[in-house]
């Protein structure tokens, strides 16, 4: 879907992105993560040509992005940023309708689209559609920002720290929502973030960037279980890497097919992290595993979790 080939970008003397090679598949949710000033935002803005690249090639749908008209290119890519940038003098409805209007959709089609998006993002259309941005909470504004970015049904969604300015509770619920949207729509999403937990939670692949260079590309599990170097290990949080690893894996892969024990039970979709927490709380080495209907499925042993957390049972 999007390919970087030896891309370089400098501001004057300073090189902000060097020799970037990256291929983003259709349907992936790629998180670009790095410290402030690492060049991750610049990489994102090069995709929709808000920042031109100096050398190398960036391909979108296997065509060099410079061969597109920038406006048409951008209409095919949703764009959401941290400060949201809702147009304060337009209602929520009109804000969301921005791209469909630019694309010349009919009024009824725009109306239906806005209605569907508001519903999908848990905003009652009749109640929130006519409101102005300043009448919404920060989380609701960001929801509208995401809805606006999705409105034109873009091939790619570019998000620049979209949840950075939100409180932890709102952020968590919006992260879940984004995950759901990604799974539902299968859209290609490129997410810039400096929050490693957000990247590990949401991304199908994480691209760790430092000083304009890719340090490691891999699934969240790769980054945690096989960090390429000390920098990666530090970045993903050396001291609680194990805990993070646990939270990426589910009980399903670790349980044994055994009859129930006289122990507490957990659900099959629970993460290992929650399972271990339950074990500690109940002062036990094993737990029964149940399906959502309460049927016994097997037993989880602490020995299996701690013995082989990096390489689960097949």
């Amino acid at each position: 879907m999007i390919t970087f080939e030896n891309v370089r970008k400098s501001y004057g003397q300073q090189c902000v992105v060097r020799d970037l090679n990256l291929h983003i598949q259709r349907g992936e949710l790629v998180a670009l993560i790095g410290a402030s000033g690492s060049g991750k935002s610049t990489i994102l803005k090069m995709i929709n040509r808000l920042e031109p690249h100096d050398t190398g090639r960036i391909l979108f749908d296997s065509h060099e992005i410079n061969s597109f008209n920038p406006r048409e290119l951008r209409l095919r890519m949703g764009y959401a940023i941290q400060s949201v940038g809702l147009f304060p003098h337009w209602t929520v409805t009109r804000n969301i309708a921005t791209v469909p209007t630019l694309m010349g959709w009919s009024k009824t089609r725009i109306g239906e689209r806005v209605h569907a998006l508001l519903t999908m993002l848990d905003l009652e259309p009749e109640m929130y559609g006519p409101r102005y941005p300043h009448q919404l909470s920060g989380g609701q504004q960001q929801r509208v920002g995401v809805a606006r970015a999705l409105a034109g049904d873009p091939d790619v969604l570019l998000m620049d720290e979209p949840f950075g300015a939100l409180d932890p509770v709102t952020r968590a619920s919006l992260q879940q929502e984004l995950k759901r949207i990604h799974q539902m729509s299968g859209k290609t999403i490129v997410l810039v973030t400096h929050d490693i937990d957000e990247a590990l939670l949401l991304a199908t692949r994480v691209v760790l960037i430092d000083h304009g260079q890719v340090v490691q590309v891999g699934t969240p599990l790769d980054l945690l279980s096989q960090p390429a170097n000390d920098f990666v290990a530090d970045f993903v949080g050396r001291s609680d890497m194990g805990i993070k690893l646990l939270s990426l894996q589910q009980v399903r892969a670790f349980m044994r097919d055994e009859p129930p024990l006289p122990q507490a039970a957990i659900a099959i979709a629970t993460t290992l992290r929650e399972a271990v927490s339950t074990m500690v709380q109940n002062r036990t080495q094993s737990l029964n595993v149940q399906d959502p209907a309460g049927q016994h499925l097997g037993v989880l042993h602490a020995a299996d979790v701690f013995g082989a957390s990096a390489a689960p049972h097949a």
Partner: protein
């Protein structure tokens, strides 16, 4: 039958006009305008009052030209020069906030500040030898003097538009022209209008000075009064200029409430 159906509507209509009339009666802008017109009518026949106030003066009421004509001339002069000032200031303000115009910003700022630093009287004095006596030097001086507040309002207004708004708009595929017209202009409008407001109101006061170079304005009684030690003339001119400025300011305030985009 037909009449019966119409009656409620008629009642509504009466209610509406009554409410409209009451609103007008309570409207300070209407009162101020009425006061100005009353002054225009009353001053020429107010010989008795001004005789009592200034017993030493032989002719205490300015009668060279009718006040209505002076008022009209004053308004025309202000309207024309403000139109030029607003057009120039707005275009320059939009220009220096574009990417291509940013390098011009310091120069434009300096020029506009220069226009304001020169006292209008000095501009008048310089303009007279070039374009002669009358309305023209006045127009030039007033227009120059009015540019700065408009320019400042335009620039401040456009800069007050959050950068994220423009960034997102362009990032979503809006053209720069459309972003200017649909986003930046409406968002900058209240601050721009505040600039226009002070420009025009200042202009009304400054236009009085234009009488020194032969333009007929509400300043004429003031200038004649100053040169002839006739305080009554000065008072009459000043009253009218002040009333006009206050009314204009109130009208702008009304307009400002309309263009405000935030509740």
């Amino acid at each position: 039958m037909c009449l019966a159906r119409l009656r409620p509507h008629m009642r509504n209509l009466t209610a509406f006009t009554v409410r409209g009339a009451r609103a007008m009666l309570l409207d300070p802008l209407v009162w101020a305008a009425a006061l100005l017109l009353l002054l225009v009518w009353f001053l020429p026949v107010s010989g008795g009052v001004f005789h009592a106030l200034f017993p030493a003066l032989e002719r205490p009421v300015y009668l060279q030209e009718p006040f209505s004509e002076l008022l009209w001339q004053h308004i025309s002069l202000v309207a024309l020069s403000s139109l030029v000032a607003v057009a120039v200031g707005t275009l320059a303000g939009v220009g220096v906030t574009r990417t291509w115009g940013q390098s011009l910003a310091p120069m434009v700022d300096a020029l506009a500040a220069l226009g304001q630093t020169f006292p209008p009287v000095a501009v008048l004095a310089v303009a007279v030898p070039v374009v002669g006596f009358g309305e023209w030097p006045a127009l030039i001086a007033l227009a120059l003097y009015g540019v700065l507040p408009v320019l400042q309002g335009t620039v401040a207004g456009l800069r007050s538009v959050p950068a994220s708004v423009r960034q997102v708009a362009l990032g979503m595929g809006m053209s720069p022209g459309r972003a200017l017209w649909q986003l930046e202009v409406p968002l900058a409008l209240p601050v721009w209008l505040a600039g226009v407001r002070s420009s025009v109101v200042i202009n009304i006061g400054t236009a009085a000075i234009a009488s020194t170079v032969g333009a007929k304005t509400l300043g004429s009684p003031i200038i004649v009064g100053l040169s002839g030690f006739n305080t009554a003339y000065i008072l009459q001119g000043a009253l009218l200029v002040a009333a006009l400025a206050v009314i204009t300011d109130m009208a702008f305030e009304r307009l400002a409430r309309r263009v405000a985009w935030q509740a």
